[in-house]
Subunit: 125 residues, 4 copies
Amino acid sequence: MTAQLGARTWVVPGGHVPFPGHGPEPQFTSFDQLCVLNATDQDTEVSLDVYYEDAEPVGPYRILVGARRIRHVRVNDLIDPEAVRLDRPYGCLLRSRVPVVVQFLRQDTRLPGVVALTGVMAHPA
Amino acid sequence: MTAQLGARTWVVPGGHVPFPGHGPEPQFTSFDQLCVLNATDQDTEVSLDVYYEDAEPVGPYRILVGARRIRHVRVNDLIDPEAVRLDRPYGCLLRSRVPVVVQFLRQDTRLPGVVALTGVMAHPA
Amino acid sequence: MTAQLGARTWVVPGGHVPFPGHGPEPQFTSFDQLCVLNATDQDTEVSLDVYYEDAEPVGPYRILVGARRIRHVRVNDLIDPEAVRLDRPYGCLLRSRVPVVVQFLRQDTRLPGVVALTGVMAHPA
Amino acid sequence: MTAQLGARTWVVPGGHVPFPGHGPEPQFTSFDQLCVLNATDQDTEVSLDVYYEDAEPVGPYRILVGARRIRHVRVNDLIDPEAVRLDRPYGCLLRSRVPVVVQFLRQDTRLPGVVALTGVMAHPA
């Protein structure tokens, strides 16, 4: 029954990894993060395409999420096929073989001694 | 008529209770919180399963929400069947006997003298 | 055509007006806010019921939103039939005669020299 | 297949560009931002109408978003047919010829040395 939880396609238009960050790594680094929950009984590979303002989309990036598992991935850590550059506007489109749910989170520590957080549920498409 | 408000299943993929917190407890503690509104005329028990990156889901945690009531529960306070550990990524899946609406909130006070807030509506599945 | 934009019923489970606030009023007061957009060509009255953890719902509060207008209302300012108390968990249910869209915003200035913001789109029911 | 991602109409009721801002421009300016992702193979023109509490809607503002591109636009920068005033409540309604996804972000730097962030996915109508 849980196999139908969520959707196979999700969209986040408002990506932008803040730069630089201040404070101990990794917990106080500036980051954008994608959080995926896979409640099904099958492992899945989430395929991620990154869209830019002034260039063709780059991808697919591949994120493995096991059956009955979550995965929180920092966009800063996506390096294959190429690193997602910091301080550059982007959006992303995620596709999964099985239904999942995707949430987006940003932590901004550009100012020393300050943490700002924001996030949204991705849009299921 | 209000009996049909909301959904019976809700998902939050991006849980992570910040640790530590600073400032007077309980109002300035770091926390993740689940907020449930039950507009129906029946009490409900919300059953909560917690998903992790590297272990099988844990649950069900049980949250009682009376008829025509809200309930705001800090994830930090969920201890049965086992405490949800702080500073560990998780996601959660909530199921209710009657339709409810679920919102997620995080308060981060890891830095002294700083409050960061973020939240999302859970995804109705 | 725009008459069908949105929904007639909206839910926000996670209300809690922070208290106290610091800084010049009204712009730096701590508040919860409901933001309503009425794109139709008819004035509407939004009827608001407030739900609590330990008491029956209170309402209706009435919010007038003109045709082709927005209205941003601080929950702190709702006083009829009774004031919504600060620092007390609540949720709310909004009903409109015509379809509208509702967003929720919180500003937390409990710590001097700190502003925290969070918000969600209300859940259309 | 991606041509059907998203919706043609989106609504954000809770606009309000914070004023003033502190810190180096443009990265620390106070702003409201609209983030649009167009995953289709056609360029699109997004038509934006701005709604107020006490005046008729103003628009259309026009935002071009290329095929397979994102666009992040600060509301502060919308000046034609007239500038969106700072520190004034507004809402907006976006229409696109092709399906897109729209996210809203606010950065508040009214207090020196403080960054507050909040955002929501716009409501697809």
